[in-house]
Amino acid sequence: MEAGTPQVVKLEDLHISGQLSGRKHILSILVENKPGVLARIAGLFSRRGFNIDTLAVGPTDDERLSRITLTLDGAMHPIDQVTKQLHKLVNVIKIRDLEPADTVARELALFKISADGASRGEVMQVVEIFRGKIIDVTRRSLIVEVTGTWEKVEAFERMVRPFGLVEMARTGEIAISRGRGET
């Protein structure tokens, strides 16, 4: 457009949309595989007051790069600020805020459930319904491995609590975009 071509915008018509998206966000972050990178990201969140709900980190097919998958609550934090601040870190290569509809996300959880002879059968039924696997058993307890979406893991936890949930360990979600292109 040439200088002096007027495209008039009225001041009254300028608006700012709200900054809080109100939903959970999954950020898939490609970072350089160098010492201290995780500390930089965790430190950034902590000093800006952004809360990380879950975080998983692991290698990628490129040994120079790692992938960090983290989830945060978009109702609490302006997601634009989070991603813009992350981009300022030199070791951060690429950030994808994964669209729920275009994303496959999975988490792995281990549950230690107290179950003696009487209740073991019922527990096993629940495990089968959730397509979990019993990977350890003693006379009074079971360890169950469940994989699935965050919602499925939450649901399984709710179902087995009444039996006596001794403890559990969750990895937090990892995610990848659907379709052929790279995340």
């Binding site: 201290g36 500390a39 000093r47 300022k88």
Partner: protein, 231 residues
């Protein structure tokens, strides 16, 4: 040549004319190399003073301010100046000595995790783990400090690595160019001459010249290393 000498060469290649700092055990090789360096070193009385001096230098001139400190308490004395440079986006490079690599993490004498301590306050930081990284990290540090939103960059060099021998090919163009300052001629006494290394005048080079545009460094050869560092 010694990695410490390549550090001096790299700073020279970045157009550094003045630095501030205090020597200590962990950066003795650096300070030994500095005796023959072509830039001026201003010996301050507290590392924080050196850090703020680097900031004042950068704010007054637009050039990257450089401050040195040794490991441990020397480095931690820089923290306020680093945080200050971050808040005000001042282009600065802070170069700290670190204990020998085999002592890192052992609570060695005058050891401090300055990298960890300053993570919230730096634009970026580098921990040298191989002496051959020094020229590349210096160049990157100056680039990060002076481009985009300027800020402080930390470079932490363990003492044994700065004594090691490496091959070095100098870069021929700096990451930054001096920017023009608004100047006016001042009446009054002439500036006192300080001890200058041979060949340097006491007046600032950029006083009335137009800024040299930054040249692409894509054609400079990368530093090569054909021998492993001698310990």
């Amino acid at each position: 040549m010694r990695a410490a000498d390549t550090l001096m060469e790299s700073l020279k290649a970045e157009g550094v004319k003045d630095v501030f700092g205090i020597p200590g055990g962990a950066n003795l090789p650096t300070y030994d190399a500095m005796v023959d360096a072509e830039f001026r070193h201003v010996q301050v009385r507290h590392e924080q003073g050196g850090g703020h001096a680097a900031e004042g230098y950068a704010q007054a001139s637009g050039r990257v301010g450089v401050a040195f400190a040794t490991s441990g308490p020397g480095a931690t004395n820089l923290v306020t100046a680093i945080a200050d440079a971050m808040m005000d986006s001042v282009p600065t490079v802070f170069i700290t000595g670190q204990v020998r690599t085999e002592l890192i993490g052992t609570d060695g004498f005058q050891e401090a995790d300055i990298l960890g301590a300053t993570l919230p306050f730096v634009k970026h930081s580098f921990a040298v783990t191989d002496p051959r990284q020094i020229p590349e990290y210096v160049h990157e540090a100056f680039h990060l400090a002076s481009t985009g939103r300027p800020g402080p960059v930390l470079l932490d060099i363990p003492m044994d690595l700065s004594r090691a021998d490496i091959d070095y090919e100098p870069r021929t163009c700096p990451a930054t160019s001096p920017r023009p300052r608004a100047t006016s001629s001042r009446s009054g006494s002439p500036p006192k001459r300080w001890r200058t290394p041979a060949g340097r005048s006491s007046t600032p080079a950029a006083a009335s010249s137009t800024p040299t545009p930054p040249r692409s460094c894509a054609s400079s050869p990368a530093p090569t290393a054909s021998r492993s560092p001698r310990r």
